[in-house]
Amino acid sequence: MDREYLKDLVERYDSGHVTEDEKALVESWYLKYTHPEAEVPYNELESFQDESLNKLLHQIERRHKTPLWPRLAIAASVLIMLSVGIYFLKRDKLSQAPIEVSKINKPFIAPGSNKATITLADGSTIVLNGGKTGQLAKQGKVIINKTSDGQITYVGSKANAPVQQTTYNVATTPRGGQFQFILSDGTKVWLNAASSIKYPVEFTGSERRIELTGEAYFEVAHNAKKPFRVVSNGQLVEVLGTHFNINAYADENEVKTTLLEGSVKIVTGGANFLLKPGQQSQLKNGELNITTADIEEATAWKDGLFHFNDANIEGVMKQLSRWYDVNIRYEGQLKERKFSGEISRNVNATQILDVLTFKKIHYRIDGKTIVIMP
């Protein structure tokens, strides 16, 4: 048996033209074979797997416009048949009543998407939504790039340009928008809807200071020499490198800082507090309160979910209004009710509102306003 024969054997094995003995030989050798230099990249396996599944689901969804969920579809059609049945049963009684137009032609309120605006130091703006990737702008030594997966990155060029005055950019998301940025120090920022951050294009000084309105999740790149400071609505959060979420919407009555990893220092007018992982601070009327955090509730938005834990209707609707870019109006006397649960941010607003009707809360859509009523 020589090399040529074995090569030929592997080829024939693939096409199926082998005897039982030859097949046994190839397969038995395969059992013993490993490449002498193979070093499996175990720590990347999970990301490979995610990447693979994403690609598969993407490919499958594109190919099948039909429901992917036969069971769900069956369940849904049973429900529809039932309601049609009930409708026909009740129709005689209803036939006198005028038809409610809003129920038949219910407007559909699409969820938010990735969109944001960057205002450069010279006042010009870049609108970010889908479309163009690659270099968007260059400011001093720093290039603003948009990667193919839609992130904005700030990359310092290696060129030895003279240090300039610090220039600032402001990234803003509208209602119904969110975006992800990587700052020039490698810090990742997820910006929720109706929010903005102001940050230097390059962190040249002895600190990394940014300003936040609204809500953002940070994964701060570690740099013990340059503390990262976030100024938001009456508080300053100081970190060296860690993961945390700040919810500082002006229309919420408190600023909530939730720590996932590492440690952060909360500095308010009067006091300092060192937050531990799993804790949340609430700043309300200048007073700082520390509780055990519901991490999922605080960061669900970044994973594409609404997550409510004993929220009241106002709390639920505030989140909906920011994501679906709608105003909320209340009519009539609503009973005090608490909501807990999790729902995708990819659905239309009406799909969520329909669920609320099970809790005896009804709604009407009036242009860009959702009217909530008992």
Partner: protein, 189 residues
């Protein structure tokens, strides 16, 4: 929604045949890690291995109604990967090291004549590599092999705390939910 990760391979295959995408996702979640690590040890080229697995999974989904997976899902997956790797060897232009290994083997060893035995060996070899996977992947795999173990029993087996087990199971469910987006929309209002 929890029941998918407690389903046996056999149940998953039957749900897959009915076009159940979650069952397909669960098969992927269960096997991607072992398949990757097995393939990479024979073919240390990450892109090539990813392509092999991508084609294998898309082929399984597209032909879910007709393919004959039989009663042994792992055997089906491992032999499919084996055949795809041998197919790549076949196309390698330059003199590769596999031939040296093969030559050596052919001169020193007796082939295993019994096919079912070779398959059993293959399954054992692939699954011996599970212990090297990242903890979460390993957990999911081990759980699928021991569907009805309690969290505590799994924790003891993997030598981690039962809190970690619970957290990881929740995490993986959450990831699945986000991935599947609207289709998987769950509420407990």
């Amino acid at each position: 929604m929890n029941h998918y990760n407690l389903s046996s391979d056999l149940e998953l295959v039957s749900m897959l045949k009915d076009g159940d995408l979650t069952a397909f996702t669960e098969i992927h979640r269960r096997y991607y890690g072992v398949l990757y690590s097995h393939a990479y040890k024979r073919l240390p080229d990450s892109e090539e291995v990813k392509d092999i697995l991508q084609e294998l999974f898309i082929c399984i989904w597209n032909n879910r109604e007709t393919i004959n997976i039989g009663s042994n899902l792992p055997a089906y997956l491992y032999t499919s990967v084996r055949n795809r790797i041998l197919n790549i060897f076949k196309h390698q232009k330059i003199e590769s090291d596999y031939i040296t290994s093969f030559l050596h083997f052919a001169h020193q060893n007796e082939p295993l004549a019994d096919e079912p035995f070779r398959i059993k060996e293959l399954v054992a070899i692939v699954e011996a590599e599970v212990s090297l996977l990242p903890p979460q992947m390993r957990l999911i795999f081990e759980m699928s092999r021991n569907s009805y173990l309690s969290h505590q029993e799994i924790a003891d087996k993997l030598n981690i705390s039962s809190l970690t087990v619970r957290k990881q199971i929740n995490n993986s469910l959450k990831i699945l939910r986000v991935k599947l987006g609207t289709h998987f929309f769950m509420l407990f209002f």
